[in-house]
């Protein structure tokens, strides 16, 4: 970072720097204060934040990246840790997929989470945003659905566990009411159902996010477009296809990116509801990394896992950089 700041030496001293220490001709030694050009001078305001980010985000992340290429005694081992991680049935267990029940490996579980949760929550959020548009009390309805997003995800995990409990859970209560008592059981306790129960529960928790974003996206589409379409005799589908959908495109893109990030990083819910179990049947990458790092104390393995997770997340993150670049 010091390189960055020193690059632009002042052509003219900035305001408030006219006399005293360090100026040309002064007898006192010039202190090490890199001077910035007038265009760069406001960067000083960013220095405290950049320092904190550097110390608490960048340095530890780079250390993890380096650890991922080292053995237990810090010797360089190339890609061996990554090979071990990908050969570990905890990460990838393709021999069981899809013929047998989970565990299929954390990587597959995360992928399934995205495959199911993304279309379900984003689609449902969009449908509800459209449905709620002019309904009396729509503000209250939005708060109802958004509640799942406000609470700590630890509690989200407790709630999911509660929903699917054999005796106390309302999902089983409803199944009994529908005459399917054969399906009644604690869904999170069986390898066949644990992962899907968690994914389903996480849809319930997350829908509020796409809903709120789509709702505010809808308000940015000019009413005149719909009026003009009415005059042209366009039907509901045509209006959605040619006005609403393209109008929502920027919001959709943000919603999809944020949702994928959330699915990749999913941790609290699984930690509380199942601890990744039973028998790793609901294990996810973030949790696998936590167990490797803080239970097994296998830092090389955990660092390789973290690096894989970070790589996947940063691919999604590029989308935000593109928006920020254009802003």
């Amino acid at each position: 970072m010091s390189v960055v700041i020193r690059r632009g030496f002042a052509r003219k001293p900035p305001d408030g720097f006219k006399t005293g220490v360090g100026q040309r001709g002064s007898l006192l030694p010039r202190p090490f204060i890199p001077r910035l050009s007038p265009e760069q001078e406001p960067l000083w305001f960013a220095v405290p934040a950049l320092l904190l980010i550097f110390v608490a985000v960048v340095v530890p992340s780079v250390s993890t990246l380096l650890l991922a290429f080292q053995g237990p005694n810090h010797e360089f081992v190339g890609l061996a840790n990554f090979r071990d991680v990908l050969q570990d049935p905890e990460t990838l267990n393709l021999s069981r997929f899809p013929g047998h029940s989970p565990p299929w490996g954390a990587l597959v579980h995360n992928a399934l989470w995205i495959l199911i949760h993304l279309p379900a929550s984003v689609g449902l959020g969009l449908l509800l945003a459209l449905l709620f548009q002019d309904i009396p009390g729509n503000q209250i309805l939005r708060v109802f659905i958004y509640l799942g997003m406000i609470l700590p995800m630890v509690i989200g995990g407790v709630l999911i566990r509660f929903l699917f409990d054999e005796n106390a859970g309302i999902v089983n209560g409803a199944l009994e009411l529908l005459g399917r008592s054969d399906l009644v059981r604690t869904w999170t306790a069986y390898p066949e159902t644990a992962l899907f129960a968690l994914i389903l529960g996480s849809v319930w928790l997350w829908v509020g996010f796409p809903l709120v974003l789509f709702s505010s996206g809808l308000t940015t589409i000019p009413r005149e477009l719909y009026e003009a379409a009415d005059i042209d005799g366009a039907g509901t589908w045509a209006k959605f296809r040619h006005i609403t959908w393209p109008g929502l495109a920027p919001v959709t893109s943000v919603v999809v990116a944020m949702t994928v990030l959330w699915e990749l990083k999913i941790f609290d819910i699984v930690y509380v509801a199942t601890q990744g179990g039973p028998g790793n049947a609901s294990l996810v990458l973030a949790l696998e990394m936590y167990f490797a790092a803080f239970r097994a104390l296998d830092y090389p393995h955990a660092s390789a896992l973290a690096t894989i997770l970070a790589l996947l997340a940063l691919l999604v993150g590029i989308r935000f950089v593109r928006t920020a670049k254009n802003a």
Binding site: L50, V57, P152, F162, W204, A302
Partner: protein
């Protein structure tokens, strides 16, 4: 003609009524689990064994709350207080540093400033697992492990990418003339920032603060790896402790969950306008 018109109106009204019923039906379906938590929290355990939705008998009691509040191994009262001790400073520090940085990045219109800013934005996506091991080791070496100071600094740092991006976006909407007028009168950048830009940005600062507070309060992972002594555990760390391995005390757990989520829900309801704006704010395409 008139008859046709009125029948169309009737059909439209029926459709609207149907949509309203559907919307409210879904909305109510969505809060049923919360109703369950509430019902479980205010009733004795033996009434919950076969489902909170069976109302005979129904006994109202606050016993679950008092048990959670003063629980011997995981007191929720202590947890709420601890979470507040972390969330408040971590919010203030992050919003303050983020506002400074956002202003710096916006006004320094050079290649370096842009690249630094884009780098900060990219960090938005980074999972905390990527920094977990070195953070744990580094803070232990500095004697800042199991300390709120360490946790607050880490939280402030991880909140900065989003806050900086959001506030920079907001600052672009503040007319630059406001600032230039003061600058011509000889005011320094620091003065214009604190006396002119910040006061008109209060709503945006409230948005950023509401969201950051929510994130810090709801965090579990950082607390899990950085705080371990029983008296220092945050409220989110105490919830899993209340759930036994083989036998789940739903009444106790529900009361604790309600207490723990009451704070972020209160913040949300009080700052709802700012909160939602914050949520969608970064996405204002220009």
């Amino acid at each position: 003609m008139g008859k046709l018109f009125s029948s169309r109106r009737t059909a439209e009204f029926l459709l609207f009524a149907l949509r309203t019923a559907l919307a409210w039906g879904i909305g109510l379906l969505w809060v049923i689990p919360f109703l369950g938590v509430f019902m479980s929290a205010v009733r004795p355990q033996e009434e919950l064994l076969h489902g909170w939705w069976r109302f005979s008998p129904f006994t109202f009691t606050l016993q679950n709350f008092s048990r959670a509040w003063t629980h011997s191994t995981a007191s929720i009262a202590q947890g709420l207080w601890n979470s507040l001790l972390v969330a408040l400073p971590a919010t203030l520090l992050s919003v303050f540093l983020g506002a400074l940085a956002a202003y710096g990045f916006l006004r320094a219109r050079t290649g370096i400033a842009t690249w630094l800013f884009l780098g900060v934005v990219l960090l938005l996506a980074l999972p905390q697992q990527m920094a977990a091991i070195p953070l744990f080791q580094g803070l232990a070496a500095l004697d800042l492990i199991n300390s709120y100071v360490g946790l607050i600094l880490v939280h402030a740092a991880w909140g900065l990418p989003w806050i900086t991006m959001f506030l920079r976006n907001f600052f672009t909407t503040v007319p630059v003339e406001l600032e230039e007028a003061a600058r011509i009168d000889g005011a320094s950048r620091t003065y214009t920032f604190f006396r002119i830009l910040l006061p008109v940005s209060l709503p945006a600062l409230a948005s950023a603060a509401a969201l950051q507070f929510n994130w810090v309060w709801n965090d579990f992972f950082l607390a899990l790896i950085l705080i371990y002594s029983p008296d220092k555990l945050l409220v989110t760390q105490r919830i899993p402790l209340l759930r036994g391995q083989y036998y789940v005390d739903w009444g106790l757990l529900s009361a604790a969950a309600l207490l723990a989520m009451s704070v972020p829900i209160l913040v949300f309801l009080l700052l709802q306008r700012y909160y939602v704006r914050g949520l969608v704010g970064w996405n204002v395409e220009k």
